[in-house]
């Protein structure tokens, strides 16, 4: 194509563009229904042409929104589990409150188990101490029964000797006759009773309570339940195996009897 022809074609294109622009401008300055119709059609056409772009943008938006929602769901799930935990804690605390009210003649001081004692598996540390007017040899119970007694008192915490400690012993009463015996732990959640006469009628599952004879433990605190009992001919007393009622391995909240 020669130079002059290219020049004319370009000139033609430039002229066309300029006058098409002018005529389009003139056309759209009119305010008639025909122009509106064309405007509508152009809008529809643009919408149609840009539909894939809009669709893709929507997909991206949905994707990012989805990620955000997943985050929110995770957060809500965590919050929900936290609330469920609070609910169960609340139920437990209410039960403890009821338990405390069921012993009106005893002054119960609630305490939390801070940690297991590092030096012995038969003791725990609770978050009350001298500041709460705790003294040595005060009984500690949970909602199920006797847990132990305080042995060392700090300002804000105390050490509790557990009922499962081999050196632990407590005077208990059992049977319809309220006969006295001594509870001693053996292993795990089990223990035995010393001094139960053969004549005493026992039942499996029977709850034994503190006798109140001792100066430390008030009477009628549940200690254990009878698992089995046997009678040897060469012995004057029965062999009574009991199971500790307090849930030693699941301790969280306890009460100190003041």
């Amino acid at each position: 194509m020669s130079y002059s022809k290219t020049f004319f074609i370009n000139k033609r294109l430039i002229t066309l563009s300029i006058f098409l622009f002018f005529s389009t401008f003139l056309f759209f300055t009119n305010k008639s229904k025909y122009v509106e119709k064309i405007e509508r059609n152009i809008i529809d056409f643009i919408s149609f042409v840009t539909y894939p772009k809009t669709w893709y943008e929507n997909i991206l938006y949905i994707e990012s929104n989805n990620e955000l929602l997943i985050q929110n769901i995770t957060q809500l799930k965590l919050l929900n589990s936290k609330l469920i935990n609070y609910q169960s804690e609340n139920i437990k605390l209410r039960e403890m409150l009821n338990f405390k009210e069921s012993y009106p003649r005893l002054s119960l001081l609630p305490a939390n188990k801070v940690n297991d004692n590092f030096t012995s598996i038969f003791s725990i540390i609770i978050n009350v101490g001298l500041e709460n007017k705790i003294t040595k040899n005060q009984p500690v119970i949970d909602m199920n029964g006797l847990v132990g007694k305080t042995i060392t008192i700090g300002d804000v915490a105390s050490k509790v000797q557990l009922i499962t400690d081999k050196n632990f012993a407590v005077s208990v009463k059992l049977g319809e006759e309220m006969a006295l015996a001594i509870f001693k732990p053996t292993f795990g959640k089990y223990g035995y009773l010393e001094g139960v006469l053969k004549t005493l009628e026992l039942q499996e599952g029977e709850i034994i309570y503190t006798s109140g004879v001792s100066e430390i433990y008030p009477s009628d605190i549940p200690v254990a339940k009878i698992v089995s009992f046997t009678k040897d001919q060469d012995k004057l007393t029965q062999n009574v195996v009991v199971e500790i009622l307090a849930k030693i391995n699941e301790l969280n909240y306890v009460f100190v009897i003041k």
Binding site: F19, F27, T29
Partner: protein, 165 residues
């Protein structure tokens, strides 16, 4: 530029012919169709533009077509000023292609090309005014384009001695 600045006689004569053609066209009888607002008309001015495109430089005729289209808009349909200008400018541009390739293209292809250009010119014009473009409307527009093409061929053979075809 020669046409616009130096040859005043040609400009004036062409302008006069154009005005006469537009007036003549507006009083020339049209064929009524079954479609509302759709009339089959003889577009003498369009044929004249083809002739002018072949005779002078196309970009000058584009400018000319714009102003005459604008004048036609004012006369025919003042609600859509700019529509005829737009269509005439586009029409002349495509006729310019025909002019460039006149010696290369076959007769049949030239007929087909002009038929399509006239058809789209008329279709776009009618599209603005007809609410529902149906098969019959398209058919009538095609007939109109065909009639105008025949008229163009006749005028080309009789008046221009086959300059276009």
């Amino acid at each position: 530029m020669y046409l616009l600045l130096n040859n005043y006689k040609i400009i004036i004569s062409n302008l006069l012919i154009t005005f006469v053609l537009i007036l003549f066209q507006s009083y020339f009888p049209s064929i009524i169709t079954s479609e509302e607002f759709l009339l089959i008309k003889f577009d003498f001015f369009l044929i004249y533009l083809v002739y002018l495109s072949f005779l002078y430089r196309v970009y000058l005729i584009i400018i000319f077509a714009f102003f005459i289209g604008f004048f036609q808009d004012l006369l025919v349909q003042s609600d859509t000023i700019g529509l005829y200008s737009f269509l005439k400018v586009l029409f002349v541009y495509f006729v310019g292609h025909l002019k460039d390739s006149n010696k290369i293209w076959s007769m049949q292809f030239k007929f087909l090309f002009l038929l399509l250009v006239i058809f789209f010119h008329n279709f776009l014009y009618q599209y603005i005014f007809i609410n529902d473009i149906n098969f019959y409307a398209i058919f009538y527009i095609l007939i109109e384009a065909f009639i105008n093409l025949i008229l163009l061929v006749i005028i080309d053979k009789v008046i221009y001695n086959g300059k276009i075809f």
